[in-house]
Symmetry: C2
Amino acid sequence: MFDPYKLQLDDLKNRDPKYLETIFSIGNGHFGSRATDPLKPTHNGGTVINGFYESSPIIYGEQAYGYAKNHQTIINLPDLRSIQIAEGDGQFFATEQLISQTLNLKTGIMTTESTLISPSGHQIRLALQAILGQHRQQAAAFRYTLTALNFSGPVRVAKQLWLDAAETQSDDPRLARSVQTLNFTHSANESGQQVVVTTDRSQLQAGIKIDAPAKWELTLDESISSSFDVLAAVGPIVDAAAAYPELALPESFDILAEDAQTYWNKTWANGNVEITGDDALAQGIHYNLFQLNSSAGRDGLTNIAAKGVSGTGYEGHYFWDTEMYMLPYFTLTNPTIARNLLAYRYHVLPAAKKRARELGVDHGALFAWRTINGEEASAYYPAGTAQYHINGDIAYAIGQYFAATGDFAFMRDMGFEMLLETAKFWASFGSWFTVRGESYFGFFDVTGPDEYTVIVDNNFYTNKIAQHNLQLVVAAARAFEKAGQAIPLGVTESDLTELARIAKGIYLPVDDALKIHPQDDSFLKKPRWPFATTPKDKYPLLLHFHPLTIYRYQVNKQADTLLADYLFPDSISDSQTQRDYAYYEPVTTHDSSLSRAIFSAVAARLGMADKAYAYFTDTARMDLVDLQGNAADGLHLANLGGSWLSIITGFAGVKYTGAQLSVTNHLPEQWESLAFIINYQGRALKFTLTHGTTTASLEFGEPIDVVIDGHQTVVS
Amino acid sequence: MFDPYKLQLDDLKNRDPKYLETIFSIGNGHFGSRATDPLKPTHNGGTVINGFYESSPIIYGEQAYGYAKNHQTIINLPDLRSIQIAEGDGQFFATEQLISQTLNLKTGIMTTESTLISPSGHQIRLALQAILGQHRQQAAAFRYTLTALNFSGPVRVAKQLWLDAAETQSDDPRLARSVQTLNFTHSANESGQQVVVTTDRSQLQAGIKIDAPAKWELTLDESISSSFDVLAAVGPIVDAAAAYPELALPESFDILAEDAQTYWNKTWANGNVEITGDDALAQGIHYNLFQLNSSAGRDGLTNIAAKGVSGTGYEGHYFWDTEMYMLPYFTLTNPTIARNLLAYRYHVLPAAKKRARELGVDHGALFAWRTINGEEASAYYPAGTAQYHINGDIAYAIGQYFAATGDFAFMRDMGFEMLLETAKFWASFGSWFTVRGESYFGFFDVTGPDEYTVIVDNNFYTNKIAQHNLQLVVAAARAFEKAGQAIPLGVTESDLTELARIAKGIYLPVDDALKIHPQDDSFLKKPRWPFATTPKDKYPLLLHFHPLTIYRYQVNKQADTLLADYLFPDSISDSQTQRDYAYYEPVTTHDSSLSRAIFSAVAARLGMADKAYAYFTDTARMDLVDLQGNAADGLHLANLGGSWLSIITGFAGVKYTGAQLSVTNHLPEQWESLAFIINYQGRALKFTLTHGTTTASLEFGEPIDVVIDGHQTVVS
């Protein structure tokens, strides 16, 4: 029923037009195009360019010192698919019925077939094929094929570059706000049109060019197809001008399709995941990886928005999602993209240093919780700026990237400085305190990943990732020494000793009675959320309860302590993780899309096969079944990466935190086999898991030692 | 140098016009008139009516469920003092020099003397006397006396009822926002003018009437004074229409002055405080009581705004300040006003019940943290709605009022229901938890009085006042029984048993090592604020540091734990209070005007005479020396009441929580004597403290037993 590399309309139950716009959207990291009804432009149905935003002052009910000053809002650009078709008498055709939509995950071509009808009853069948360039990242092409079904005669075609920034207001903090300060110039002649959009406050500029005039005539013959292509170019934003130097149209639809084909061939060759025994899940993971690739900025100046380029939800902002949920895929399949995503953080490091000062911390840098340009754009600090853990998340990702690639050049140019600045932040931000006569280092008034518990002391996750952050500086310094290179930035032995001393002092308690990691100093004292008396329609809780109501209970939006357990299997035992899992799972709502993938991976590692499989199923097809109910606003990018984590780090138990890569077979009984390719230390390695056997092969590069199911193995 | 009953310009160092407008403002509980330069109308220089507000939607940077929906903003009404004087050629006179201002605290008359000058150099001396009715609370009268200093001839006088709602924006959360949705109609004829102001959203209406036409001519003779009066009426707002039935002008300036004189005579007779040996402090306390009386709503539908009717700061909102800092004065000197202030809370009890539901609490009522109409108007819940203690504060005040008056009628009609609803809230809101094997009841994610520490668990003050709230229900029920009356509202013995059981379980720990009350579960672990390295110009901290920076340190804006110690001397020992004082004083910035009065009173009781006196000095003349630096926005009403608390409950050690009134002499050595009158159980009692002696006399009523300096005494 499900084609593992082709998503079709029939694979989906939800037929809400906005939902379908998201699901069938295509992108290339630079920009995205939603699958709008070409005959019916909608106000959030257009094109978005990764990182192309306008800012506006944040208005607070009550203002205070140091609050984030400006919204940054990704801009809805003219819909590239939009077209108008009119009869000779001027009456417009409208879409009568959507017949099929197909997203080909191997070619990148998205096809929409529909019938159109005019007020006089004339019908046309329209097939629209859309493709975005993957190497020529500013290029797009659209092929319109029209077949008159019950008439012959002329029609008038109009192609307008159209812009609408209608007002939207909502209580849902996950949506985007509208932008009112765009300047929009349009020029057109016989051979094409161009729109230039300039923002007032963020001072950015983008252009869209197409090779079609504003209108032309076409004569249709009944049952004979007529076809025309529209070629388009989109970009650049000012910062990325160097990356996309020229606003040039592609040569043709077919040449652009070839460009995309090359990219997707390589992407699947370097990082495919093959599931035998469940085509639905196979389709899910392929779809997820396809969309993850489509949304990841590749130019070192942009990142991956929470909704990628598939919609304007969360205002196009970058969060910790990138480093913790999406980057691992790139690190192990396309290190160049991984490096460029981390380069974005380096690009905004000056803003992070400034932000640390605004938070009253004298040393180091604090990355913005949500941002495009590097400045904090979170208008609600308890679940925003207070999530200091983003510093540790970025450091963790740098550590992983370095462990997988051994990229000393990156570490010297950018990585080490980010590790150091984030570590200095922790050292300056935290403080020593005494528990039962012992001195510990910890952090007060912080928020961990779980946004249903805020402004707490010694959040376990935060403490753990901060400790790791401090240790990474020391480890990186030692790596430079071992490679015979000087430690960068003049870091001295006594600096390292001090960071190591603080790392050693970090407070990471285990509760005496429950033998679990307390999520924070107060969590375990609170009453449990009254799950038994909360109706299903009151989830997600954040839309139905005052924050103060949610915060005073033991209730998790997402994996928090368990995420720490997941990240640090070398220092947290399985039995400890098992107890934490048993405690926190019943209080977790998974109201965040970042939750289930982690529960799946941890369950797989712990041998809880049923739980691992159930969570993975939700994860693998989360947006395809609209599990969160808001895919209309855009895909849940973190979960796309998360589903890959579930497979690779869960079912295949991949770890590479130590000196060696290791794989541990936790293949679900429902599958016949699992095969995947990853890139590690310059090698391409293919692993195949069946029930009872795990095999590895070297697709590229020198032989290497890996640990397979506990045994040292040379892959050659 | 200082006249104890007359405030004069020379008594003040700050000559900022807006500051002087506040200091010399006059009011009558219903409305207030700032001491504006009559020749120079300013945009916040007008008239305010207690409780006359407009609402506007609160815009949040990030919206969430259950947030307060609307601002309520007190409205700047036309300036009643404003006048224009022009020469025959149309050139206007302007104020050349302010010569004197005098606020007579015994008559209520405020006099401004100034010289005016025209562009041609003509000078006039203007004396403006202003008086507000105290029984006729809608009436005001202004007497203008003009003396031409260097010319004779006609002048044209214009009297305009003028309105300006200019836009103001500020990072200072303590200011008010502007109002843009007023409808303003003006009518004028030969004999007078009237303005009617209607609000769009709050649907309120107020009228201002004066007996002066818009313009007239006057002939001045050099060195001869000419005088005219303007009579005015202000009111009513819709709800208070019953209290102020008719918008009627007073008969004359003199009749209105008599009305005011009667009120002030009675006020001083019933509640005076005489300090012998320090006229500056005597003036301070008289000024404070004068202004406290001038701002207290008396109609049962209004309350006392944080800035009274002296300015628009804090948007004219009512806070807990009333019950904890201001009401005690009225309870012990003018129980009718005290009762009406509590009646206001009863009036908004339905809104409080609704609010409890919005906070996810199934039973009881939660009073709004800041409000005019009873609905929550706090746009920052961590230092707003999270201050649940307001429930206990109101309950405490009801208990005190009942203890002082024995007013069973009030208790049956209003008081008991408020006690019960607030107690039910605590019971439903809190939860049981275990500490060292013992079961306790407490409250999570709350904010205590100290706004530099928010969203904490088991704030000691909150726990203590909640416990008292629960106990008050039981005590009131017993009082009804004892008086042979049924317990109201069908409360049963088992209801009382349950409330008592919870009260008994309330968590009120003492720290093992420090032997102090921990402010909350986490306070003592945090590092101390770096006071040594914080320059003076960085105070108040709230204007110079991000909330997250402030919150993660041990630093208090105001008395918090110490306020609990202060309120409950019967259950918290002096030695305990002494330790708490020693611990918390060094971490308290007194950035709140609500702090010093409590430190003074506690220090006095503990025999720390120097500290008590120093804090009292700051308290007694806080606005007269502009200690907080923002008196221009309005008086610090809580501190006005607080300075009375310092004297009565500190230096005189008055307590009436038990069955008897007690007085304990802690007279500062700097004073010769202290005498004060209070009303207790229907008696007027006068106490005189000198060094070594405390005497009491019965000014009115039946003999009564009181405890004086530890000895049972019959005052007769």
